[in-house]
């Protein structure tokens, strides 16, 4: 129950990322510039932060299909509250994050109290969140946002490279999640629940409370992702999040976290998100259609899960 991964599953994602970077650096002299790499980080920030929440859920052997839609709903709520009702930006953002956290709570309660499988629960809330988003926004994009709401999209210079505040926030959240999962009792409990919920309960850890906490925290992360998405595009977009659902799961799986729960490191999910972003960026720089990025992602997902399966067999 150390939560340590076998070398292949841990190192695989990092090796894939490094290989992709080396390849693209040899193909385009613009690839390895500070500006370009900072750009890729900006582009993966939304999926990256959703993937933190998704990692927590997957570590408990669950899955959250609702993540992207809940994120879109949070974005619509915060932008409409600010632009249409004139609420001060911080308060509006708080309301948006509140709604996504509430959705996390609902997911968690249905999983822990009603004992429904996470796949079904979040399939339901995926559709509910999507419908509410469309009904509430009337399918219209929300514009004319206060500048303070999009401040995370602003950049600052480090040695000639422009870095966005959103990137900093994402990296900070990853650092925090990594620390909590690795060094605190609650973090270790998440791994324990994913490894063997029954055994964990028998040693006196309140597994239901841990699970509920994980879903609530996931909702909170989706809310932060809403703010990042709003800051990046400068609008409240009712059609946001439609690909982020699966993109976030892809990032977690590419990052080596086991879909069977209990194993994985959250930093891997950042690497997973970066791999997808690096391919999209690098292929454009090479002048190659970005549909190949989709192809490569598919192959890597299968390799990642295969590596996990093999290492699992090894330990049995």
């Amino acid at each position: 129950m150390t939560g340590k991964l076998p070398p292949l599953a841990t190192l695989g994602p990092f090796i894939a990322l490094l290989a992709a970077c080396t390849f693209f650096a040899s193909q385009s002299d613009r690839f390895l510039t500070g500006g370009n790499l900072s750009l890729v980080l900006q582009q993966v920030a939304v999926v990256g932060v959703i993937a933190i929440g998704q990692t927590l859920v997957i570590l408990t052997a669950g899955i959250d299909l609702s993540c992207g839609m809940v994120m879109a709903l949070g974005g619509i709520v915060m932008t409409k509250f600010a632009a249409d009702y004139g609420l001060p930006a911080p308060l509006a953002v708080l309301c948006g994050v509140g709604v996504t956290t509430l959705f996390g709570l609902v997911n968690g309660l249905l999983v822990t109290k009603v004992k429904l499988p996470p796949f079904i629960v979040t399939l339901g809330t995926l559709n509910i969140a999507f419908a509410i988003t469309q009904l509430y926004s009337n399918s219209q994009t929300v514009t004319d946002l206060p500048p303070s709401m999009t401040a995370l999209g602003n950049t600052f210079g480090i040695g000639g490279t422009e870095v966005s505040w959103g990137t900093v926030l994402m990296l900070g959240l990853y650092g925090l999640a990594w620390f909590v999962l690795r060094e605190t009792a609650s973090g270790r409990h998440v791994y324990a629940v994913g490894n063997n919920a029954e055994a964990t309960r028998l040693v006196g850890i309140p597994t239901q409370r841990v699970l509920l906490g994980v879903y609530v925290m996931a909702g909170l992360f989706y809310g932060i992702a809403s703010l990042l998405s709003v800051a990046r595009t400068g609008v409240g977009d009712p059609n946001a999040g439609q690909t982020e659902n699966l993109d976030a799961i892809t990032a977690v799986v590419l990052g080596g976290t086991s879909l069977f729960g209990g194993r994985g490191i959250v930093l891997g999910s950042l690497v997973g998100a970066l791999i997808v972003g690096i391919f999209r960026n690098g292929l454009t720089l090479m002048g190659v259609s970005s549909i190949y990025q989709v192809l490569v992602t598919g192959i890597l997902v299968i390799l990642a899960v295969a590596a996990d399966q093999m290492s699992r067999r090894g330990t049995r």
Binding site: S28, R30, Q43, S139, T141, T143, E162, N239, Q242
Partner: protein, 333 residues
Amino acid sequence: MRQPTRIALATLLLAPAGFAFAADAPAIGLITKTETNPFFVKMKEGASEAAKAKGAKLLSGAGKADGDNAGQVTAMENMIAAGAKTILITPSDSKAIVPAIKKARDKGVLIIALDSPADPADATDALFATDNYKAGVLIGQYAKAALGSTPAKIITLDLFPGHPVGAQRHNGFLKGFGLAAPDAKSNELGKAAEVVCMADSFGDQAKGQTAMENCLQKSPDVTVVYTINEPAAAGAYNALKKAGKEKGVIIVSVDGGCQGIKDVGAGRIAATSQQYPLKMAAMGVDAGIEYAKSGKKPSGYTDTGVTLIAAKPVAGVDSKDVKTGTELCWGKK
């Protein structure tokens, strides 16, 4: 189990009454690609208003997502079962929808394609749509004239591979710009030396922004940006602004939604080709009512018109101002 059985029985008993009602007011079906795209939301509103004004009953349905052919087929079957004699459809998959259309026409249902054609185009009775190639030509001509003697370095933010509307706008733009381009029938995106980067935006603002950022890394000296629609243009503008290059780059687009026209007024988009979804829908409803009355079917292609909207007119290219564009725009004014 008892409750559902009772409901099913009640439905059966009530059904004949429902059909009797449908026979009085002609039922017209409208099937859009999705329920959520503002373009189709407006189209539905236009159809619903026209139907109400003329005493017809509008049934509406849609696929779940762009490209959901099965969802459209299901909607079509349900509408025919509900007694619709005319169905207006914006095909999501121009080829895959054809067998279902043929089945409906064999039952005497009038099928009119709106916005984009079926493949082959004569699979439907008629097509009411924007001339997307012409929409592209207009913004191509505008961009060329507005650019003047500055060298052309073009980025194109396209739809996604294989979609005829994406190809027609892209190729029309190249043609209007005076570059070699495939004709209106081609489904391939034309390439020219002046086009320094091509990327797919999926007509989405966030994806358009990502695509533009990546293209800017490849070609920072861009002078013209062609975009498939106005959300993609807004994404392109965001990317340019973040790179500090929003001045001096000409962004052109297609659609004429109210937000897009606002962006033209604010100088974020230089010019856009405006199309008219409400008109397509209203014409479709009219045709359906005519068919119910006299049995006369429309045929062939009807151009629903396209107008170039620009804040700054250029010599040699006809355009209308932002005020006109706002009056005719669709979406939230």
